[in-house]
């Protein structure tokens, strides 16, 4: 990391964001005048400078009870406690899916009850574990469908000048395929962003990574590139996903991609195990591999600052 020198002028935005990949936990990167500055999360400087921040939780898998974590309810509550301890209260919360483990009513009930203790309004998208009810997604829509949601539950909203888009890529999956959006959803997306100026910051969130992380394990979206092409013209696009239970990030042009940790159990790195199933780690290490994410928006032509923290410490 010899190039990592925040004193040096003219550090490219791309390089600064690449540094974020190695930032680990508790470090906030913000941009001011094109020069990255880092502050420890406890200082709250970034949060004060931010116009607003929001929380991302993912993959709570309530209902799971296997060795990798017999009590995901406890770890979700710990994540909620960490969120409550953030220096500045997030404006709202986004859950990027696999809210439940088996789409059972009680699981949906339990999660809703726990998340209500955050005092935050929640925006949701389903994971594949949320749509395995008899109605193939009806249970999810009964809970989280609104008059704004379309189809299987996609929608958009605006907050603080940022346009948020929630996409559903876990239904109508094809044999041998990856995540899938479908033509109806893509047509909706095209219309949704058509008249927005390119200076509008975009945050798009979906359960399965919209970009190809590791296709051998299904970590990608068959027609994700079509969605990203519709967003390419915007000056700042942040893509938030879950599903893989670990952080993977990349920056491509004006797009920043980030996948979140789970609050339930870790999964192995790409190809590091026989399959992407729940990964058992020593009990003392579990919480280092679970976590939550804060995203801060600083008004101006700047990327959003994405900060991960684990449940450890």
């Amino acid at each position: 990391m010899s190039k990592h020198d925040s004193e040096r002028e003219g550090v490219s935005r791309r390089h600064a964001l690449e540094c974020m990949i190695w930032a680990g936990t508790g470090m906030v990167w913000t941009m001011a005048g094109g020069i990255p500055r880092s502050t420890m999360i406890g200082e709250a400087r970034a949060a004060e400078a931010a116009s607003f921040s929001f929380l991302q939780l993912s993959d709570s898998h309530i209902g799971f009870d296997k060795p990798a974590n017999p009590d995901p309810t406890a770890t979700l509550k710990e994540a909620i406690a960490k969120a409550a301890a953030l220096p500045v209260k997030p404006a709202f919360m986004i859950h990027t899916g696999d809210i439940t483990h088996l789409s059972r009513d009680k699981e949906f009930d339990d999660v809703a009850q726990m998340l209500s203790t955050t005092g935050l309004h929640g925006f949701y998208v389903p994971g594949e574990h949320d749509v395995i009810d008899e109605g193939t997604g009806k249970a999810y829509l009964d809970r989280y469908g609104t008059k704004e949601t379309k189809g299987a539950g996609w929608y958009s909203f605006d907050h603080g000048g940022v346009h948020f888009i929630g996409l559903v890529n876990v239904l109508n999956l094809k044999a041998g395929g990856l995540g899938f959006l479908g033509e109806e959803q893509l047509a909706w997306l095209a219309a949704d962003v058509e008249s927005r100026p390119a200076s509008t910051p975009i945050v798009v969130f979906a359960h399965v990574p919209l970009w190809t992380v590791y296709p051998e394990w299904g970590w990608g979206t068959d027609d994700g590139a079509k969605a990203l092409a519709l967003l390419k013209r915007f000056g700042s696009v942040t893509v938030l996903n879950g599903h893989i239970h670990q952080i993977v990030q990349k920056v491509e042009g004006n797009m920043t991609f980030h996948t979140a940790r789970s609050t339930a159990f870790p999964q192995p790195g790409p190809g590091a195990a026989a399959s992407p199933g729940p990964m058992k780690v020593p009990a003392e290490d579990l919480r280092k591999m679970l976590g939550l994410t804060s995203v801060s928006f600083v008004r101006g032509d700047k990327p959003l600052a994405v900060v991960d923290q684990t449940l450890a410490g």
């Binding site: 088996l102 594949e128 395995i132 094809k174 044999a175 296709p215 394990w217 299904g218």
Partner: protein, 121 residues
């Protein structure tokens, strides 16, 4: 014989017969356990894979999928002509195949998991 003795004799003979039947059943059971019945077959779901990936069976065979993963899976026919409920860890799903042909299926949660049943007449 008095009635009581007759009853005892009957019970005793029933017990002998019962024991004999039990022995027959035990021996039969032992031989049955060593080879599955001709009209049933097994697919294991393990490490996000259907094993065997291609299973050849005869008409009328009941195939049972057993999930040995710590994650639920489903068995979903490629064109959605049938789909199982979510098969959680340790659970099973069975289907009897009454028509010859090739049935391609996948897991609707993890679609990169695919398999095929070849039903021969």
């Amino acid at each position: 014989m008095t009635g009581r003795f007759r009853g005892t004799a009957r019970r005793a003979s029933r017990r002998v017969i019962g024991a004999a039947l039990l022995l027959v059943a035990v021996f039969a059971g032992v031989s049955w356990a060593q080879t599955p019945a001709a009209n049933s077959a097994i697919v294991n779901i393990d490490n996000f894979a259907f094993t065997p990936a291609v299973l050849v069976v005869h008409l009328g065979t009941t195939v049972t999928w057993t999930n040995r993963d710590d994650i639920p899976h489903t068995v979903t026919e490629k064109k959605l002509t049938f789909r199982s409920k979510a098969i959680d860890s340790g659970e099973q799903f069975s289907r009897t195949f009454d028509l010859p042909g090739e049935i391609e299926y996948f897991c609707s949660l993890h679609p990169h998991m695919t398999g095929k049943i070849v039903v021969e007449p």
